[in-house]
Amino acid sequence: MRHIISILMENEAGALSRVAGLFSARGYNIESLTVAPTEDPSLSRMTLVTTGTDQIIEQITKQLNKLIDVVKLMDMTEGPHIEREMMLVKVSAVDKERAELNRLASIFRGRIIDVSDKTYTIELTGDGDKLDAFLQALDSTVILEVVRSGVSGIARGQRALRL
C-alpha cells in the first residue's frame, strides 16, 4: 500500500543522504521525496512517499526513527490528511492551440505563469491523480517539459507533526 511519511529532521548536511542511503541499503521503494527547512531553521521537513506491505512500512518507520538525525515522524496515511503536489508544465502553444490550452488550464484550476510566442508554462497544484489527469488531457505532442515537486502532506484537524 502507498504511504506518505512526514519526517522532522535536523537541518544538517548529510541528513538527506542518510534517509536516501537507508532506503537503497534496505531495498525500500521511494516514489517521491521532498525536503525543505521549516519555520524553525534548525529543522527540515521531509515528505516521503513509499509503498510496501504493513510489515515493510513498520520496518521503514522504525529504521527512520533509528536515524540519529530524525527527530520525529508521522505516517500521514494513518489518519485523514491532505496531499498536494505542484507541477509546472511547459507546452508548445501556437495559433488556435493557445485558446484551447488556456481553457484546459482553467478547467483544472491551473494558472499560466509564463508566456512566449510559442509556449505557455502552466502551474497546477493538487493531488497526484489530478496532475496525472491534466497530463493525460493534454495532447502529448504539445508537452515540452514537466516538473513535479513531489508530494507534500499535512494531517487534517488538530493532528500536527511538531516538536
Binding site: Q55, E58, Q59, Q63, I68
Partner: protein
C-alpha cells in the same frame, strides 16, 4: 584558556577516561599526534594496519564493556578502517573512530589522501559527524561517545579536517549531553512485561533464547537469576555465549546452523519462546518459514527495529535488557507464580533424550589431531577461564561449541559480519585491557594471514597472546560447503604456499611451536601457558577432512540437522 583543536582532542579523550587509543599516524592527523606526544594520560597503541586498530579497539570494547577508540589518518587510513567499523556495527559494539580529513578548504577537491569518510562509512556506523568548526569539536566528541555507548551501542565516526586541529578555541568539555533527536528507551512497558510473565508461566515446553544484547546490556546476572527461577532450558547464540554459564545443566548449548541438536530441537518444539537481546538472524533461524511453528514468542530488545523484523513476535518489549529482566523477576516473585512442574519435567525428559544423542561427539582415537580435541584441551589447560577470540570459519564454530564459557565477555568473535582477520588484533585489545589474563586466539591458517602483520605490534608491546592455529591447509568452511554442496570441487579452498609459522613467529621474536600428534597437544598448552612475556604461536597440524557438525543446510528448519 584557548587550546588548539589537537589539544582539545586529547583533553576530551582524557576527560572521557580513554585508556588506549589504537591508531596509525599520517599527514592529516599530525597535529593530533604532536599533541599526543607531550602527554601520558592516553596511551597510543601503534598497530601495523588500520583494520587492526579497529579490531583491537573492538576486542577491547567487547571484553571491558567500555568504548574502543581509534585514530586513523585521512584517505587510505580511513578506508582501511572500514572493515573494522562494519564488523563493530554488525555486532553493535561501542566504538568511536576518529578519521583525519584534508583541510576544510580542500574538501571536495580530490586532494591528496582525500576520501569522503562520512559517505563511505555512513551505511556501517550508528552515526557519523564531520567537524566543521573548532568550537564544535569538544561537543561533537562528547556526542560521539554518548551515541556510541547508549541505547543499542555501535560505532561512531568523527571526521576531523586538519585545519580544525590547528585552530584554537576555548576548551569546555560538557559533563552530559542531550540530543532532541535521540532518546533511547530504558524501561520496558509494564503491561507488556506482565503479559510476558503470564505467557511464561503458562508454558509447557518453554525455551529461552538469548543473544549478544544480554552481554552488551550487562544483564548476565539477571538472566542467570531468571533462568534459575523459571528452571527453563536456555540456549545462546554465537554472540551470546557466556551470558549464562555453559556448564550449568539448564544450558542446552548454542543454537543455529552449527548449534547443538538439543538446542535446535528445543527451539523447534517449544510452545513459548523468550528471546532476549537476539535478532533472529538467518544463521540462527534456519528457514524462517519453518521457524518455531508452535511457539508464542516474547522478544526483549533495546532496538524497536529489531522487533518483528524477521519473525513476527507476540509480546514485544522494548527496553534495557537488564532493567526488563529485573522487573520480570520481581513480578514473578511478587505474584508467587508457579509453573506447571509436571509439564516442565516431561519437557526436560525430552530435552535430555535429545542431549543423549551427543551431537558433538567426534573420533577420539584418530592418529590425526582433531580440531575439536585442541579446543577441548585449551579449555582444560586454561580452566575455562581464558578470553578466547576467534577468526571466521570452522575453527570459530569449534571454539564456540567446545570451549564452555561460564562468564560473560570472554568469547570474542565477529558474528554478524564474519570478518576473517579479526581474531589476532581483537586479542591485542583484550590483552591491553587485561595484561595478566590468558588471551587465546583460536584461528586457522587462512584467517590468521589476514592480519598477520600484527605479530609485530604484539612484539612491540610484549603481549603474551596465545595463538591456537588450527592448520588444516584448507579454508575449512569453504571446503566443507564444497564437499557437501559442490560435489567435492574444491575451488580455491586449498591453502598453498603456507609460511613456516614457527619460523615466522620466531622472526618477530615470539615463541613458535608446531604440533603434529594428538599426544603432544596437552603438553604444548602446558608449555605455552608458562610463557608470559611473549606471544606463543601454536601451529596445530589438524585433520584436513574434519567437518563441523551438526549442520542445518541452507533452506532447512531447525529440526533438520545433518549429524555426524
Amino acid at each position: 584558556m584557548e587550546l588548539t583543536g589537537a589539544e582539545i582532542f586529547v583533553r576530551c579523550l582524557k576527560e572521557q577516561g580513554v585508556e588506549f587509543l589504537f591508531g596509525y599516524p599520517g599527514g592529516a592527523v599530525l597535529h593530533i599526534y604532536d599533541a599526543l606526544y607531550v602527554q601520558d594520560d592516553v596511551k597510543h597503541i601503534l598497530v601495523r594496519h588500520e583494520q587492526a586498530a579497529t579490531h583491537a579497539a573492538d576486542g577491547y570494547a567487547r571484553a571491558t564493556g567500555k568504548p574502543g577508540v581509534v585514530l586513523v589518518t585521512s584517505g587510505p587510513g580511513a578506508t582501511n578502517a572500514v572493515t573494522g567499523i562494519a564488523t563493530a556495527y554488525m555486532d553493535s559494539i561501542p566504538m568511536v573512530v576518529f578519521t583525519g580529513q584534508v583541510p576544510t578548504h580542500l574538501i571536495g577537491n580530490d586532494a591528496f589522501q582525500e576520501a569522503d569518510n562520512i559517505g563511505i562509512t555512513r551505511p556501517c556506523v550508528k552515526h557519523n559527524f564531520l567537524v566543521k568548526d573548532v568550537d564544535r569539536l569538544a561537543i561533537t566528541i562528547k556526542k560521539a561517545f554518548y551515541v556510541a555507548t547508549s541505547g543499542r551501542p555501535g560505532p561512531v565516526v568523527v571526521d576531523i579536517p586538519k585545519d580544525i586541529t590547528a585552530e584554537k578555541a576555548e576548551f569546555d568539555y560538557p559533563k552530559t549531553v542531550t540530543m532532541r533527536s535521540y532518546n533511547p528507551v530504558v524501561k520496558g512497558h509494564t503491561g507488556q512485561i506482565r503479559k510476558a510473565v503470564d505467557l511464561l508461566i503458562s508454558a509447557r515446553r518453554p525455551m529461552i533464547y538469548t543473544g549478544g544484547g544480554v552481554l552488551l546490556g550487562n544483564a548476565s546476572e539477571s538472566l542467570t537469576e531468571l533462568t534459575h527461577l523459571l528452571e527453563f532450558p536456555i540456549t545462546n547464540t554465537l554472540m551470546g555465549l557466556g551470558a549464562f554459564p555453559a556448564t550449568d545443566r539448564q544450558f542446552v548449548g548454542m543454537l543455529g546452523m552449527h548449534g547443538t541438536y538439543e538446542g535446535n530441537m528445543g527451539m523447534h518444539h517449544s510452545d513459548v519462546l523468550l528471546a532476549i537481546g537476539a535478532r533472529f538472524d538467518d544463521r540462527v533461524t534456519g528457514n524462517i518459514d519453518k521457524f518455531c511453528p508452535a511457539a508464542k514468542i516474547i522478544h526483549i530488545d533495546i532496538d524497536p527495529a529489531s522487533i518483528s523484523k524477521n519473525v513476527k513476535v507476540d509480546v514485544p518489549i522494548v527496553g534495557c535488557v537488564d532493567n526488563v529482566l529485573k522487573t520480570m523477576i520481581k513480578e514473578i516473585k511478587a505474584r508467587k507464580l508457579e509453573i506447571d512442574k509436571q509439564a516442565l519435567a516431561e519437557w526436560w525428559k525430552q530435552i535430555d533424550e535429545w542431549r543423549d544423542m551427543d551431537c558433538l561427539k567426534y573420533d577420539r582415537e584418530s592418529d590425526l589431531i582433531k580440531p575439536q580435541f585442541v579446543v577441548e584441551s585449551l579449555y582444560e589447560a586454561t580452566g575455562g577461564d581464558a578470553f578466547v577470540t576467534s577468526d571466521v570459519g570452522q575453527h570459530q564454530m569449534w571454539a564456540a561449541q567446545y570451549y564452555k564459557f561460564d562468564k560473560p565477555n570472554r568469547w570474542i568473535n565477529s558474528g554478524g559480519l564474519g570478518t576473517m582477520g579479526f581474531g589476532l588484533p581483537a586479542a591485542m585489545g583484550v590483552q591491553f585491557a587485561y595484561p595478566d589474563a590468558t588471551v587465546a586466539c583460536v584461528t586457522g591458517e587462512g584467517s590468521i594471514q589476514m592480519c598477520i602483520q600484527e605479530l609485530s605490534t604484539c612484539r612491540q608491546y610484549g603481549l603474551p597472546i596465545m595463538i591456537v592455529n588450527l592448520n588444516n591447509r584448507y579454508l575449512g568452511m569453504v571446503r566443507q560447503w564444497q564437499e557437501f554442496f559442490y560435489q567435492g570441487r574444491y575451488a580455491m579452498s586449498y591453502m598453498d604456499s603456507l609460511p613456516d609459522f614457527v619460523k615466522l613467529a620466531e622472526s618477530y621474536g615470539h615463541v613458535g611451536m608446531q604440533i603434529n600428534r594428538p599426544g603432544d597437544v596437552k603438553d604444548a598448552f602446558r608449555e605455552a601457558l608458562k610463557v608470559r612475556d611473549r606471544l606463543v604461536f601454536l601451529d596445530f597440524i589438524t585433520d584436513q577432512t574434519e567437518n563441523v557438525y551438526p549442520m542445518i543446510p541452507a533452506g532447512g528448519g531447525q529440526n533438520e540437522m545433518i549429524l555426524v
